[in-house]
């Protein structure tokens, strides 16, 4: 550590301090801007409320008329061959594809979390608070998710199923 070839290179040290710092700032500023842009809700065609309970979800379609229903997990005895255990529900959330859909998520009792991993969605359902998320699905199909915030005995038994139709 006392070799003069490796000590006291002030210019080099200045450059390799300033240059990475500048590069990181240039990466960080647009990235933070984009992060705040992902929060924005731009002209949704459809708004649905999703209310978490112990241990089921309630969906309210109130844009055009008042459709409200509960979505309970299908117990294993009620499954048909080919159905997914612990994932199927009695009433699915039916949504259109290629349309921006806004989900307003809250809870009636304790914390829950409304999640559909394949659509990139995870939003906490907090009692007394209304959280909002938006997505635009491009492919029709059935999308599964499970409650993602510990909410009691049947936390693992309150799945979410979205049926996206053209």
């Amino acid at each position: 550590l006392t070799n003069t070839n490796i000590t006291d290179a002030q210019e080099m040290e200045t450059i390799w301090t300033i240059l990475p710092a500048v590069i990181l700032i240039l990466i960080a500023l647009p990235s933070l801007r984009i992060l705040y842009m992902t929060d924005e809700i731009n002209n949704p065609s459809f708004t649905i409320k999703s209310i978490g309970h112990q241990w089921y979800w309630t969906y309210e379609y109130t844009d055009y008329g008042g459709l409200i229903f509960n979505s309970y997990m299908l117990p294993p005895l009620f499954l048909n061959p080919g159905d997914l255990r612990l994932l199927e529900v009695d009433n699915r959330v039916v949504l259109p594809i290629e349309a921006p859909v806004r989900m307003m998520i809250t809870s009636q009792d304790v914390l829950h979390s409304w999640t559909i991993p394949t659509l990139g969605l995870k939003t906490d359902a907090v009692p007394g608070r209304l959280n909002q998320t938006m997505f635009t699905a491009t492919r029709p199909g059935v999308y599964y998710g499970q409650c993602s915030e510990i909410c009691g005995a049947n936390h693992s038994f309150m799945p979410i199923v979205a049926e996206l139709i053209p």
Binding site: E11, T14, I18, A21, L32, R33, Y36, M37, D39, E40
Partner: protein, 82 residues
């Protein structure tokens, strides 16, 4: 601490950009924290005269720190008037 920073910077000039960036980062973090403590509607300091400031947010108030495209003060109501 500041004395030490100045003494070391005089001895090794290449330390100056290091102290500048670290100082800027630390100051930024401290400023953001004070912004949150003083102005965030989720924080209540005075429980007698302003117990629940989060209940006072109107539909045209901006809650987020930085809004790129949306001007919250100009938002119009989407639903019908009852």
């Amino acid at each position: 601490m500041l004395c030490q920073i100045i003494t070391q910077s005089k001895k090794h000039l290449s330390l100056i950009p290091l102290f500048v960036f670290i100082g800027a980062g630390g100051t930024g973090a401290a400023l953001y924290l004070s912004c949150l403590a003083l102005f965030n509607p989720d924080v209540s300091w005075d429980r007698k005269s302003n117990p629940e400031p989060w209940n006072k947010l109107g539909p045209n108030d901006q809650y987020k720190f930085y809004s790129v495209n949306v001007d919250y003060s100009k938002l119009k109501k989407e639903g019908p008037d009852f």
